[in-house]
């Protein structure tokens, strides 16, 4: 017993721990600077955010101790119980939670606020690692894929219902973990295609989408066939039928829209082409047609879903996300102010507490989502690039540690930690410099807030603990 414990302390990856401590210290200094005012100067003033953050940091150290004391088998053994308890919390916050900034995602007990969505990431990571590591699983069968989708999408749906779109989107980063564990690259392409089609359906006129899909199908056909005669026949059939439908429409005053005319033309011509293809035993044409029609149906149902099923405030959120809606004093305004703040920092920054942009309250949410502005303004390019490099170093270190695990559970968990941190870092910093959409998620270890700090701490240190015991864990 004694021997095993010393082993653990010796096997801890102190490099990661030191990285964590550096980030958290730098983070606190920035919160101090972001909310600093001449009236309150004591760092322990808990009426101020930096004072509170100091409390959260101290609490994190206690959490780290607890994580180290818990046996490593605990997570794998209780994975499902932890997961279901978290789902219950996510459901109950919908009914018992308090709405803050439009999202009903907080439990409020006295002065203490707690956001279950932050901890749901930990629980989902644990259960995903447990499921994938069981029975040498291959991520190929439909049943397996379905179970994984259910594990990930249940918290996503609940968090989306809480109106916390940002936190819900984080879960899509698990696709990186699945990819590492053998998910076919085709699924990732299909995922990207569906996302692209989804966004295009909202952004672009449906006629353009229709023709784009039609042209893509034709290109695939040309790539497969290469017979000039066949291509010309296909082109002539489609144009001719569409033209005839158009003529009939005009002649009899059916008043069909141009879109419907094209749709009918395409349907008739594809029936003709299918018969010809059937004769010539060109079966691949049916796959092309299948993809073509499912894309058209999908694009139309997105339109319907968006306009008829989503609530106006959800529509607005998606619109802002996709930059359809231009809100000068809303999201776009924040990004402009944020870019000014970061840009004004120059090479070495204005110095500690000297930021004017962040101080004037022109950058909103400066201690939470836009904390990176303070770094940019006061620390300049030196500060921002060091922070980015520190984060990159941490991510690569976690991947390195994950790859040296003997247990698949530990490895999957390591990838979960790296992916979640990566998504938060990339999206949060990206939005402050205008590269990614404005999604309200915190910058790990930097943003003000107990729940997110603790969730990231627990996530990272469970992995450090797993790594420390890597010699005991197999399979």
């Amino acid at each position: 017993m004694y021997k095993r414990k010393t082993n653990i302390w010796n096997n801890i990856d102190w490099l990661t721990v030191v990285l964590y401590l550096i980030l958290i210290t730098f983070g606190w200094i920035n919160i101090y600077s972001a909310v600093y005012n001449d009236g309150h100067q004591s760092i322990f003033d808990i009426t101020q955010r930096y004072g509170k953050q100091l409390l959260w940091i101290s609490a994190s150290f206690i959490l780290i101790l607890i994580v180290f004391l818990i046996d490593v088998k605990f997570y794998s053994f209780f994975a499902y119980i932890i997961y279901f308890a978290t789902i219950l919390l996510l459901i109950s916050v919908l009914f018992l939670g308090k709405e803050i900034h439009g999202a009903r995602s907080w439990f409020v007990i006295g002065n203490f606020r707690f956001q279950p969505a932050e901890f749901a990431k930990v629980a989902t990571s644990i259960v995903l690692s447990k499921y994938i590591s069981s029975f040498n699983l291959k991520i190929k069968k439909f049943k397996t894929l379905f179970t994984i989708a259910a594990i990930i999408l249940t918290p996503v749906a609940l968090i989306f219902l809480q109106n916390d779109t940002g936190s819900a989107l984080v879960y899509f980063v698990f696709i990186l973990v699945l990819y590492r564990e053998g998910l076919s690259i085709n699924y990732i392409f299909i995922g990207i295609l569906i996302t692209a089609l989804f966004i295009a359906s909202l952004l672009v006129d449906k006629l353009i989408i229709f023709f784009s899909i039609e042209i893509i199908a034709l290109i695939i056909f040309i790539l497969r066939n290469k017979n000039i005669k066949h291509i010309i026949i296909a082109l002539i059939t489609i144009s001719l039928t569409t033209f005839i439908v158009w003529k009939i429409n005009n002649l009899f005053n059916y008043n069909l829209s141009f879109y419907i005319v094209n749709l009918i033309g395409l349907t008739i011509s594809s029936i003709i082409l299918s018969i010809i293809a059937y004769w010539h035993k060109m079966n691949y044409i049916f796959i092309i047609l299948g993809v073509l029609y499912s894309s058209i149906i999908f694009s139309n149902s997105v339109d319907y879903f968006f306009n008829n099923i989503l609530e106006p405030h959800q529509q607005k959120r998606i619109n802002i996300l996709l930059r359809i809606e231009n809100d000068p004093l809303g999201t776009g305004y924040n990004v402009n102010q944020s870019k000014i703040a970061i840009g004004s920092g120059g090479f070495s920054g204005k110095g500690f507490l000297q930021g004017t942009q962040t101080k004037f309250n022109f950058v909103p949410e400066q201690s939470t989502d836009f904390i990176f502005c303070t770094i940019g303004e006061e620390r300049g390019f030196i500060g921002t690039s060091i922070v980015v490099l520190l984060f990159l170093f941490l991510l690569l270190r976690i991947i390195y540690l994950a790859e040296r695990q003997r247990s698949r559970f530990s490895r999957v968990f390591g990838y979960c930690v790296a992916s979640i941190l990566f998504f938060h870092i990339a999206i949060n910093i990206g939005m402050t410099i205008g590269l990614t959409p404005v999604i309200g998620i915190p910058l790990p270890f930097f943003s003000y807030g107990g729940s997110s700090l603790w969730a990231f701490t627990i996530l990272l240190f469970i992995f450090i603990r797993l790594d420390a015991s890597r010699l005991e864990l197999f399979g």
Partner: protein, 614 residues
């Protein structure tokens, strides 16, 4: 064993790629793009809100009623303060040193970093003085604002006023910041969104000497202010001014409406106040003074005072009787000094008897309408008093009584038409009858009607059975049209064929032989149709009421006049209404003796004793 191990490289490459792209982007933002660099000389950005000009307000003939005047506010950012010559500043802006220190502390308390309002509305002379020396006072700058001005000094209640937003408003509406103006009453309030326009922001580079060095990034991040929309009101400035003049030294209200559109030509509340009293620095002080005034000049009588309509309501009783087929043009009742039934007596004055409907209106016979009212309620077609009363009430409320009309004023009241539930509660169910409520027949009792509702009823009669919701704005400069609801015809439950009979009676009221109740309102070559009324007032002298429209065919104006403690309707209200009609239709008043009679009438300083019945 682990055939996917090489996939780790792909993930690592994604991480590194994102890291590299972000560092390049940061390099571009912070190092390459020089325009973001303002740190070198410790310069700061100053955000100056561009306040749009609030929309102007015109009358129906494009006479200017409300405009803006520039003023200058001194602002302070406490964090930028350095030591300065306090005596010098105190002298320029004319405040004492303790005041200066208090103001600085107040600004610090609000925020170190955000600009605070330091001194409101400096004169242009002070501003010119200060502008030259402003560079000596770091942290101070001047912001230009505008104040409302009312060149006509009238229609204070209708136009309303603007004031600074308070904390509650800034929390509720993100558009407003402390110190912004917002419409608080009248059309300033109901058309706030149209009038205010949209604020803009300009970002300037300011050097260490607090001097503006130029636009930041050539104005790339600036937004320009959008001026507020101008409003054309339905008011006729000449008529409004005339109405307010006639109402001098009297308490009450005049509302005049153009029946064919529902446009409010005049809306007078008396006593009123000069709207220029409630602007800028003097507003709070004057507001408190007006609030303390025992004559309640801030009380908007035209929209908020509820009066029993008195005999003017006989018009409604007649129309409901005709509609419910308990009254015909030829129906006659005789009257011998009053209506008697059981222990109830409603007295009447001397007039010929018996009377048909037209003459009953002409002589305003109480007995006649008591009979009509009882026949409506006790109609044998209905099973109970309750049912009869509900029919009566439905017909009455279809004139817009008992509910808010839905005009474009922010603080309209609904008045009161009692319900059967009210009497059930008051007398007990089944313990009241048409006789218990007989005073409703002649417009007394629990009825409460606002002057606006009364003018609207007059307009409805003039239109022979419908009204357009009264409104005060007819055009908004940046919109195609005002609210569609003002173009909807509201029909009453009375068939339009019944109106001409009643209108004939109203014509006789003014133009009939001796004994008609309001011959004083007669105008040569304009057929005025009217009806007098006297509202019983338990607190003092009765209120004088008159409603009228003219000309009889194709009416141009419908007017309701209420004069508190003015005695019977024909005494003050009828001549006032008549003068208003003459002024509007003929553009000038020929009956100078009548005008002087009204102008010299003082019901406030000398309480006249007048206990006449009609």
């Amino acid at each position: 064993m682990d055939i996917y191990k090489q996939r780790k490289y792909f993930i690592q490459i994604i991480f590194i790629l994102v890291g590299v792209v972000y560092i390049i982007r940061l390099f571009a933002l912070q190092m390459v793009d020089a325009s973001y660099k303002i740190s070198a000389s410790n310069n700061v950005l100053r955000y100056i809100t561009q306040y749009p000009a609030r929309g102007l307000v015109y009358d129906r003939n494009n006479e200017l009623l409300v405009y803006n005047q520039a003023t200058y506010d001194l602002m302070l950012v406490p964090r930028q303060l350095t030591s300065f010559d306090t005596t010098n500043l105190c002298n320029i802006i004319n405040i004492s040193k303790p005041q200066l220190i208090e103001k600085i502390n107040k600004a610090k308390h609000y925020s170190y970093f955000k600009p605070s309002l330091f001194l409101k509305q400096m004169s242009s002379v002070t501003y010119a003085d200060l502008q030259e020396k402003l560079y000596k006072f770091h942290g101070f700058f001047v912001q230009t604002r505008t104040l409302r001005k009312y060149p006509k000094k009238f229609a204070a209640h209708a136009l309303g006023y603007v004031g600074e937003v308070d904390k509650a408003i800034t929390k509720k509406h993100k558009y407003y910041n402390l110190g912004d103006y917002i419409g608080i009453s009248g059309i300033e309030k109901s058309y706030e969104k149209e009038l205010r326009g949209k604020k803009g922001v300009q970002i300037f580079l300011v050097d260490v000497h607090n001097r503006i060095k130029g636009n930041y990034k050539k104005g790339k991040y600036d937004t320009s202010a959008v001026a507020g929309a101008n409003l054309t009101t339905t008011l006729d400035a000449t008529l409004q001014a005339y109405g307010e003049k006639l109402m001098q030294n009297k308490k009450g209200s005049i509302v005049a409406i153009e029946p064919s559109t529902g446009e409010i030509l005049t809306i007078v509340t008396s006593p009123s106040y000069n709207p220029n009293l409630l602007i800028g620095r003097i507003r709070t002080e004057n507001y408190l003074k007006l609030l303390k005034d025992t004559l309640k000049p801030l009380f908007n009588r035209a929209l908020m005072a509820k009066y029993p309509p008195g005999s003017t309501f006989k018009i409604i009783t007649a129309l409901v009787g005709l509609q419910e087929k308990v009254l015909y043009k030829s129906t006659q009742y005789s009257c011998h000094g009053g209506y008697h039934s059981g222990r109830v007596t409603v007295r009447c004055h001397y007039h010929p008897s018996p009377l048909n409907l037209i003459h009953a209106i002409q002589y305003s016979c109480n007995t006649y309408f008591c009979n009509v009212y009882r026949n409506i309620i006790d109609n044998s077609e209905f099973a109970s008093t309750d049912e009869g009363f509900k029919v009566w009430r439905d017909d009455v409320t279809s004139f817009g009584f008992g509910n808010k009309l839905g005009s474009d004023f922010p603080n309209e009241l609904s008045g009161n038409i009692p319900t059967s539930a009210y009497y059930d509660k008051y007398y007990g169910q089944g313990h009241w009858s048409s006789l218990t409520t007989i005073s409703l027949a002649i417009g007394q009792g629990e009825l409460g009607i606002t002057p606006l509702q009364m003018a609207n009823m007059t307009s409805t009669v003039a239109n022979r059975g419908f009204y357009y919701t009264p409104h005060i704005v007819k055009n908004i400069s940046n919109k195609k049209s005002i609210d569609e609801k003002f173009f909807v015809k509201h029909y009453t439950k009375i068939d339009s064929s019944y109106f001409p009979i009643v209108i004939d009676g109203m014509e006789k009221v003014v133009n009939g032989e001796a004994g008609s109740t309001a011959r004083i309102a007669k105008i040569n070559d304009i057929i005025v149709c009217g009806k007098t009324g006297t509202a019983q007032n338990p607190h003092g002298d009765n209120h004088s009421i008159f409603i009228a429209f003219a000309p009889k065919d194709d009416p141009k104006i419908a007017v309701a006049v209420f004069i508190e403690n003015g005695g019977y309707g024909a005494r003050w209200a009828a001549p006032t209404a008549s003068l208003m009609i003459e002024k509007y239709i003929k553009k000038s008043v020929s009956r100078k003796w009548l005008e002087n009679y009204i102008l010299n009438c003082d019901l406030i300083n000398v309480q006249t004793q007048d206990k006449h019945m009609e």
